[in-house]
């Protein structure tokens, strides 16, 4: 009687399993993309005639070398910065032509006239730490985003997304051109309502 060997394991489907795993990893792995806060620097040419801006339309934020925060001349905790910035931008204290009909603020005559006039001025020391600067920038951007989100959902209630989400879809390269065009209009309207006017002073050398 011939010797019978144990049957060999069929390896034919091993490749299929391997490809299954490969496809799984392909789908689940995301290539790491950097993210960060986008800013635009002012161009170099000097303004010969700086426009006159009234004191009440400027929201001053100063960070000193000990990383302390001075908002509108008073020492503030960074946790309150976002709220204060929102209050300032959304104040809408102007009247007549400068009135702001969509603002929901206190309409304090001592604060900003309308979001278009409101300017946030950020000044930091050369000794300020970068991470504190980023935290302040983050909170100021957050204040703008909060207001823009509110207006975006007010103007586009049936869209079901916020301004930030819409902006994300808009900047996604996979979004089709048609969607981009329709989103761009909606985004631009909201940007017009709350334009980001963030001015940075050149840092003080001695302090």
């Amino acid at each position: 009687m011939a010797k019978r060997k144990a049957p060999e394991v069929n390896a034919g489907s091993m490749a299929d399993i391997a490809f299954l795993l490969l496809i799984f990893f392909l789908v689940t792995t995301t290539i790491e993309t950097d993210s960060g806060i986008n800013r635009k620097l002012p161009p170099m040419e000097d303004q010969i005639d700086p426009p006159i801006i009234r004191e009440k339309n400027i929201f001053t934020v100063v960070v000193n070398k000990n990383n302390q925060l001075l908002v509108e001349e008073s020492l503030t905790d960074i946790k309150d910065l976002r709220g204060l910035a929102v209050d300032f931008l959304d104040n809408g204290g102007g009247s007549g032509e400068e009135a702001c009909d969509y603002c929901q603020g206190k309409r304090d005559p001592r604060s900003s006239d309308n979001p278009d006039k409101a300017i946030i001025s950020l000044k930091n020391d050369r000794e300020t730490e970068y991470k504190i600067y980023i935290a302040v920038q983050n909170e100021l951007v957050a204040a703008y985003n909060e207001l823009r989100n509110r207006e975006f959902s007010r103007l586009n209630p049936n869209l079901g997304i916020s301004y930030v989400e819409a902006d994300l879809i808009y900047s996604d390269p996979r979004t089709s051109a048609d969607d981009k065009a329709s989103l761009k209009d909606k985004l631009d309207v909201v940007k017009q309502l709350y334009p980001q006017k963030l001015s940075e002073a050149e840092p003080s050398k001695v302090n």
Binding site: A6, L22, T33, R126, K131, I134, A142, V164, S171
Partner: protein, 160 residues
């Protein structure tokens, strides 16, 4: 008797190695996909600060990277502990930033030259002085689009 011999004589069956190439290729593909090419080695400490109001920086071919921070531990002997700027593979001074950006811009394709963003990858413990200097240099060469690259996280992480 043959009946009893049969059981003992069987060798262990050889495991087929036919699928080994598949497994190797799978690993290869996985690493090919997951690896991010970094064309310059980091010579500075680079713990990015955290922020949550971030925008994605897609399309790597439209980005110029500038690193800054304290030199890494193995460069401390040569370069000290003062924060330095790293441009590509070497340390650079503030004055060299402008020339570096112009050179990088010239190396890009024509249609991309106007849409470039400069990404600042700066260590969170760096002082703002050096960053302001970089920003001034960027303004001089009209590279106005800027991105402060951060980790995604709550801003309160920056306070410890």
């Amino acid at each position: 008797m043959a009946k009893f011999n049969k059981k003992k004589s069987g060798d262990l069956p050889a495991i087929s190695t036919a699928s080994l190439p598949d497994i190797v290729f799978m690993l290869l593909f996985f690493f090919m996909v997951a690896t991010v090419m970094r064309d310059s080695t980091l010579m500075v400490q680079n713990t990015l600060p955290a922020a949550d109001q971030v925008q994605k920086l897609d399309k790597k071919d439209r980005v110029i990277y500038i690193y800054a921070g304290k030199p890494s531990s193995r460069y401390v002997d040569t370069y000290g502990t003062q924060a330095r700027i790293q441009l590509n593979d070497k340390f650079g001074s503030v004055e060299e930033v402008g020339a570096f950006v112009l050179a990088e811009r010239a190396a890009k394709r024509q249609e991309l030259q106007n849409v470039l963003t400069t990404a600042l990858k700066v260590d969170s413990d760096t002082k703002m002085g050096i960053i302001s200097d970089i920003k001034q240099e960027l303004r001089k060469v009209n590279a106005l689009k800027l991105n402060y690259t951060t980790r995604v996280g709550d801003y309160t992480q920056n306070f410890n």
